[in-house]
């Protein structure tokens, strides 16, 4: 029974081991993160000064589109699926995921999806250039030929996500160790359970949207063409019915990570566990009924506009509960500030900041001035980057010693944190000002009145980009020659089953389920 990993490349191609697959997901997502980040650097380099210097407007649009699609579907989502694969079985005392072969499949179709997507950059007519929101008819009647490849890769990504989610749901529902009741599960497991349900509910909606596009483009239907009896606004309703839950799909697992790290470095149990679970469920429910707040300028009737405004404002309540819980967890703790904790605290502060601008955006009358401006770009980068990416980074530093049995370089981790933190804020804080002063998003060029803050923003972006290279170096250096750790419990204050297995975590864990009191 107890055998180690297979030798050679076959280990990775045919593996059904949750740890191997988790590792594959994590490395894949990091590669995509660097690629999407490179596109962001191209964007910021072009926007460094007014005028077109490096690239042409049509290529700029390809860059914004590819940056968005790759970061959302290639970097952030697979990163958290990777964490789920590694940690959920360890956290609930299961020997592996419930459906190991499907686990292998759901990972291994991903590289093909993204190869297909990336190959469009080299096609005649260029890569998709209609933004990651791909509004029709820009993405149908007026799209480059490569849109068909885009649709195909979206389908594969969707299939991968749905399989991954089913696997996570099946694992959590069936494979918990005896005594691990639902209300004893770590919050990371809870947030992933809810996220997986969101994914299963909305990925088919996305698949429907791209299929309708495919039909409109190639088979003469008119779902989104008013001239044939369709409606371009229908596309936006369908897209955002997927798109809004999608942002919670990204952020909920991040909540789970932070809810593990803050108690560990506060040396104090998570405050308000039950209310955290209920708040997560409430956010997930609300995420389904607020989608049209992305469409306040599309000419909805006022009744619809008012409804979506009120419903959106409500999200502030459960989100506030979470923030208050994290801070109260820290209150009267015994705090230390290792790299995972630094990223988690920055997460709480910057995510809350993004929450504030989100609340402002929910007010429809003010949104006429915010909508599609850099204010929105700043807002969603505060919640996506300082939210999801910071928490993902925190998770890697927190669990890396358990994964590979070696300790990362703390100084380098903290240096990376400060470069990332300062760089992030220099990049995105000024974008609030740009948006309020009237700069629309997705602009390849801008008037002279926006020159100063764009330059500042670009400098910050290069800083933030450099921090990621340091991260990569630190992780590789740790795996190769980090200082070995052998304590099961790597962090003094850490709680949970994952800290009861040996360090580094053996290839097979919990072959016999632990007893939970």
């Amino acid at each position: 029974m107890a055998h180690g990993p297979a030798k050679g490349i076959g280990r990775w191609l045919f593996t059904t081991n949750h740890k191997d697959i988790g590792t594959l997901y994590l490395w894949f997502s990091f590669a995509m993160f660097l690629l999407g980040g490179f596109f962001a650097m191209v964007i910021r380099a072009e926007l460094f000064q007014p005028g077109m210097q490096l690239i042409r407007p049509e290529f700029f649009n390809q860059m914004t589109t590819m940056h968005g699609v790759i970061m959302v579907f290639g970097a952030i989502m697979p990163a958290f699926v990777g964490l789920a694969n590694w940690m959920i079985p360890l956290m609930i005392g299961a020997p592996d995921m419930a459906l190991p072969r499907m686990n292998n499949l759901s990972f291994w179709i991903l590289p093909f999806a993204f190869l297909t997507l990336a190959s469009t950059l080299f096609m005649e007519g260029g890569a998709p250039n209609f933004g990651w929101t791909f509004y029709a008819p820009l993405s149908t009647k007026y799209a480059p030929e490569s849109v068909n490849y885009f649709i195909f890769s979206m389908h594969i990504m969707g299939a991968s996500s749905i399989m991954g989610s089913i696997n996570i749901i099946a694992t959590i529902m069936n494979m918990r160790a005896p005594g691990m009741t639902y209300m004893k599960m770590p919050l990371f497991v809870w947030t992933w359970l809810i996220t997986a349900f969101l994914l299963v509910a909305v990925m088919p909606v996305l698949a429907g949207a791209v299929t309708m596009m495919l039909m409109d483009i190639n088979f003469g239907t008119s779902f989104f063409d008013a001239a044939g009896g369709g409606d371009p606004v229908l596309f936006q309703h369908i897209f955002w019915f997927f798109g809004h839950p999608e942002v919670y799909i990204i952020i909920l697992p991040a909540f789970g990570v932070v809810s593990a790290i803050i108690p560990a470095f506060s040396r104090k149990p998570l405050f308000g566990y039950a209310s955290m679970v209920y708040a997560t469920a409430a956010i997930a429910f609300l995420s389904f009924i607020v989608w049209a707040h992305h469409m306040f300028t599309v000419g909805m009737p006022i009744a619809g506009e008012l409804y979506f405004m009120y419903a959106t404002m409500l999200i502030a309540v459960p989100t506030g509960v979470k923030v208050f819980n994290w801070i109260t967890t820290m209150y009267k703790g015994a705090l230390t500030f290792e790299t995972p904790m630094l990223f988690s605290i920055a997460f709480v502060i910057l995510f809350t900041f993004g929450g504030f601008t989100g609340l402002m955006l929910s007010v429809a009358a003010a949104d006429i001035q915010y909508h599609d401006s850099y204010f929105v770009v700043a807002h969603f980068h505060y919640v996506m980057v300082a939210g999801a990416v910071f928490s993902g980074t925190a998770a890697v530093y927190y669990w890396l010693p358990k994964w590979c049995g070696k300790m990362y370089n703390e100084t380098m981790g903290q240096v990376q944190f400060w470069i990332a933190f300062v760089g992030f804020n220099i990049t995105f804080m000024p974008q609030h000002f740009l948006g309020l002063a009237g700069m629309p998003r997705r602009y390849a060029d801008y008037g002279l009145q926006f020159a100063d803050w764009n330059m500042v923003s670009s400098i910050g972006a290069f800083m933030y980009g450099a921090a990621q290279l340091l991260f990569l170096y630190n992780v590789i250096a740790t795996i190769r020659n980090g200082k070995p750790v052998s304590d099961n419990k790597v962090w003094e204050g850490a709680e949970g089953l994952e800290w009861e297995v040996p360090t580094p975590a053996p290839y097979h864990t919990f072959a016999t389920p632990p007893q939970i009191k």
């Binding site: 007519g125 260029g126 502030a316 006429i368 002279l448």
Partner: protein, 380 residues
Amino acid sequence: MLKRAKALFAGTLTTLTGVSTASQADEVSTRQLNMTQGITEVSQAAYDIHMLMMWVCVVIGAVVFGFMIYVMFAHRKSRGVKAANFHEHIGVELAWTIVPALILIVIAFPATNALLKVYDASDAEMDIKITGYQWKWQYEYLGEDVRFMSSLRTSQDEIYGREEKGEHYLREVDNPLVIPANTKVRFLLTGNDVIHSWWVPDLGVKKDALPGIFTEAWAKTSEVGVYVGECAELCGKDHAFMPIVVEVKPKEEFNTWLAEQKASAAEYASTIGKEWSMDELMERGEKVYTTNCAGCHGIDGLGIPGVFPSMVGTEVTMGPIEKHIDVIVNGVNGTAMQAFAAQLSEVDIAAVVTYERNAWGNDLGDMAQPIDVLNHKNGQ
């Protein structure tokens, strides 16, 4: 750089002290940090609710982050504190659920009132139809028989750095929209091809221009002046290059302007029958081409391979002239080539056809006359 830093600092001060007027928006200033108050009831309402929300967030943020920073200093392990073990408290948990909900309910009232204002387009004294094109705007004064296109005036040389950027870089158009002061103007928006969005911050108007659907917005102001806006919805390659300029004129001046527009439309009608010379057509054609065609097909007519076809020595420009006119008048279905019948006059179409057949070494030597274009349109 130091000068710039100073300017930024001064800008921050201006914003913080609230000394900022709409007239500053006219100059190219990098100092604006906050939303404009604008010149209409709607823009003022948006600004007021924006500031209210911002202060609510600032106060909550100060309390929450202040407490957090206190905790980070006071409860550090290095100070020798011992961690407590509490992990729930029904009282505070209820309080921090109910209090934010109450704050939101209070905010909902002004938020609703502001939105009602935005939507009140009733009793408009004047209707202007705005059509978004890739990548320009068309304005039509309904019932007045006045209609024109409005495109970017900034040259490609300025954009690509071959020439110094002017003060109004990307904030200038050939024909601005002119509206009268003290008049409630209703805008009816639609799109010709993809979705655009007509945004003029100072008017407090941002509304999507959707192909096949009409949306509406409105503005009424007493402040005469020039106000600049942008397209706010990604609409393809030149999304960033289709600005909006609105001139608000006193009512009498506006009426004079409108009368002039009508007169020149009538005068134009008489030129259609006239025989134009090659030089006249080429000169006008080059201008028309630069504003309307060069965006895709390039100043040199070479286009972008795989996206926008080249016009140098190729099928349409070297083929029969009727077909060439047809492509421009009716566009090419299923491609980005739009129908220009409603955008360009007969004279302009004739000029641009002639230009394309005789520029870049195409040298066919034949010409299209405005009357040919008119006949082509009527012949259908």
